[in-house]
Amino acid sequence: MAEEKKLFKVKIDNISVEVEPGTTILNAARQIGGEIVPPAMCYYSKLQGSGGKCRTCLVKVSKGSDADPRPMPKLVASCRTTVMDGMEVSNITSPEVLEARKGVVEFLLLNHPLDCPVCDQAGECHLQDLSYEHGADSTRYEFKRRTFDKVDLGDKIKLHMTRCILCYRCVYTADQLTEKREHGILGRGDASEISTYISQSLDNDFIGNVIDVCPVGALTDQTFRFKNRVWFLKPVDAHRDCENPKCCGKTVLWMRGNEVFRVTARKDKYGEVEAFICDTCRFDKKDVKDWIIEGPRKIERNSVISQGHYVNTVKPKDALVEVLDGRQPKLLFDIHSESQVNRPDIDLSKIHGPAHSDDFKK
């Protein structure tokens, strides 16, 4: 008996949308798009069971469904609440939701070190965006922040637990993507931490993806750490024939000139990867020759990364030849060959202290 699929009508912030039964409120909102999409720090559509923990996506259900129009008594996590036919949800139209979200952002930032100036995630950090959009301009917390020691999880991944917001994404990633989960949560309450027990290294073909799913700078790429700021880099889509059958081989190279600084999976506008990539692609293929470049990656306009203006850049034209009616400028005097101090054989960086004319004596 082939039943015709019935779509559920949902109203989010007075915008109607029809979605399939079983869709969550968050995903219904994403189908509408725009401002009314609740932020999500822990939900990750590619990871089963994720979500519900950070509470930033709280929304108000002002009407449960057509069948049962009662409103839900509390704010609900939109990433884990499925829609009902005729449901009415308010997100940014509800002051209560905005107030609660502001509270959640404050809680998330309570123990966060706010070391963005030295954090590799800065520029692509969800917590940065979230606090910019929903947070207060100062903190009311007057106590010492919680800190942890930095841990090397193998030679490729650095865990900086102090920055972690315990979204559990990396745990789900390791659980569902890799063959053997090697890390989880230790401790409880605000003393809980992501750990491998006795700092064992994470060693698995796909474990590098925990870096991509981490919404903050708690898990960073050791091969990229402190090498560059992301907004100075040019993201280009690239692919290669990866030997690993589970890897899609489609990545983003973050380049400066012809140098590949890092490789990540391709992320959509919600910061979720399109497909996971293997560790060989991520950590070992740092040569532009390994890749087939497809072109610049489109970055959301509001992202700081797009401030690099790398798309459609035009090289400045040398106007001199044109002005001289096509004649090449004549070199009158080559200052470099005449200069006494232009001595390529003397390496300035090896001179102790500032250079002195004595250093250039023949």
């Binding site: 509270g103 809680f107 309450g189 605000d190």
Partner: protein
């Protein structure tokens, strides 16, 4: 003397053992339920009795049982929540220690009603000696044919397992308990799905408190119609109250839910009055998570009525002027107790017990504790009181499980009713270190209620 249903035979020597329990009318209810009644009749009887969950929330048990999904070929489970960890609550411990067979009998009847062939007793790890008592009782019952295969020739099979927790308050939350029972980290699950649909090992599960399950036995014995004659209104039957604090006779009392709070505290049958003839300052009537009430609001509701020991009366006035019966952890505080310190103790507890899964509770509980510590130790500011209020408001209702609410409510109630004491602590930091605020006006008669216009 109030009538008793659960502890009426608790004083009999050797009631812990099967023979004594059986010869005093034990297992008659199980026999009646299994042989003559059948599951539907038992469910009907429990519904009729109006029995409400004794674990704290007070949800009607019959209704809860009727929610259980019954898909074909999927086992159903009954889980007994014996993870009694709420500060101030110790009633289940008494039941399990002294009359374990009452619980076993309740489990048999309830499992039979729900069609569950396995029942689990999840007991808190700190009750280290009780699993032995329970397991002995289970072995006795099994020997006598009350457990195992084909019980009483009815074709109903049941096994009861005792599982110890590892010392986490959060595992008293039903979904965290299920996770823990499955051998995982005790993190509460996100609901829905509710345990009645997907609980233990993704199968339909009912989680009930020890006392609730035990109360099923007298209901079957005397019938639902008789049971509602105990108590008042929707608070039917009897309730175990574990009384503690500054009273003359702390302990576990079974009360019929038709006595007043004042009678409970001052009568010789129950608490026997405040210790050393001091005056009553405040009371937490239902375990640490429910709002604290000052003496005047405790004995009389805001409407001027006498407050009774019932679900409804204690909740009268909502959280503005009322509290909750909760799990029955009755904590009495005399005039020399410091509310700020008491609130700090609870805040520390909830900070320690937060599972850390969702952000408001993980971060907020610790923050409240630190702010309260400052106020208690003379480093507070006036703005801290408003800050505390704001923090608790942002935790409450925004978390996955009720632990966030449970952490927020005591702080909210303390500030709501005892704000002067907080302000005194801030204004007199040195004095606050050496003496307490005292009774102040907290026992003064309430202003006469304004007639509704």
């Amino acid at each position: 003397m109030g009538r008793k249903l659960l502890l009426d035979k608790a004083h009999i020597e050797g009631i812990r053992y099967y023979d004594t329990y059986r010869s005093n009318g034990g297992y008659a209810a199980a026999e009646k339920a299994l042989k003559t009644m059948g599951p539907d009749a038992v469910l009907e009887e429990v519904k009729k009795s109006g029995l409400r969950g004794r674990g704290g929330a007070g949800f009607p048990t019959g209704l809860k049982w009727s929610f259980i999904a019954k898909p074909e070929g999927v086992p159903r489970y009954l889980v007994c929540n014996a993870d009694e960890s709420e500060p101030g609550t110790f009633k289940d411990r008494y039941l399990m220690e002294f009359i374990p067979h009452l619980l076993i009998e309740g489990l048999i009847i309830s499992s039979f009603t729900l069609g569950a062939n396995s029942a689990y007793i999840y007991i808190r790890g700190e009750y280290a000696w009780i699993p032995d008592i329970l397991e002995q009782a289970i072995a006795e019952a099994k020997n006598k044919g009350w457990l195992g295969k084909n019980i009483l020739g009815t074709g109903f099979d049941l096994e009861i397992y005792v599982q110890r927790g590892a010392g986490a308050y959060i595992c008293g939350e039903e979904t965290a308990l299920i996770e823990s029972l499955e051998g995982k980290r005790g993190n509460p699950r996100i609901k829905p799905p509710f345990p009645a649909v997907k609980g233990l090992w993704q199968c339909p599960t009912v989680v009930n408190n020890v006392e609730t399950l035990a109360a099923v036995v007298p209901i079957i014995n005397i019938g639902g119609d008789e049971y509602i004659k105990y108590g008042t209104g929707k608070s039917t039957g009897t309730k175990l109250i574990s009384a503690c604090g500054n009273i003359n006779k702390p302990g576990v009392y079974e009360i019929e839910m038709n006595i007043s709070v004042e009678e409970f505290i001052y009568s010789d049958e129950y608490c026997g009055g405040i210790k050393n003839n001091k005056r009553l300052k405040a009371c937490i009537p239902g375990g640490s998570s429910v709002p604290v009430l000052p003496a005047n609001l405790l004995l009389k509701t805001a409407k001027g009525e006498t407050r009774m020991m019932t679900y409804e009366s204690l909740a009268d006035g909502g959280f503005a002027t009322g509290s909750m019966l909760g799990s029955g952890g009755f904590i009495v505080m005399d005039e020399d107790q410091c509310i700020v310190r008491n609130t700090l103790t609870f805040a520390r507890f909830y900070h320690h017990e937060s599972c850390g899964q969702c952000s408001p509770c993980r971060e907020g509980t610790g923050w409240m504790e630190k702010v309260l510590k400052n106020i208690e130790y003379g480093k507070g500011k006036m703005s801290d009181i408003d800050l505390l209020w704001d923090i608790q408001r942002k935790i409450e209702g925004n978390t996955i499980c009720p632990l966030g609410d449970a952490a927020a409510w005591p702080v909210a109630a303390a500030i709501r009713h005892f704000r002067d004491e907080f302000e005194w602590h801030v204004a007199h930091p040195q004095e606050a270190l050496t003496r307490n605020f005292g009774l102040a006006h907290y026992a003064d008669p309430l202003p006469a209620p304004v007639a509704a216009v």
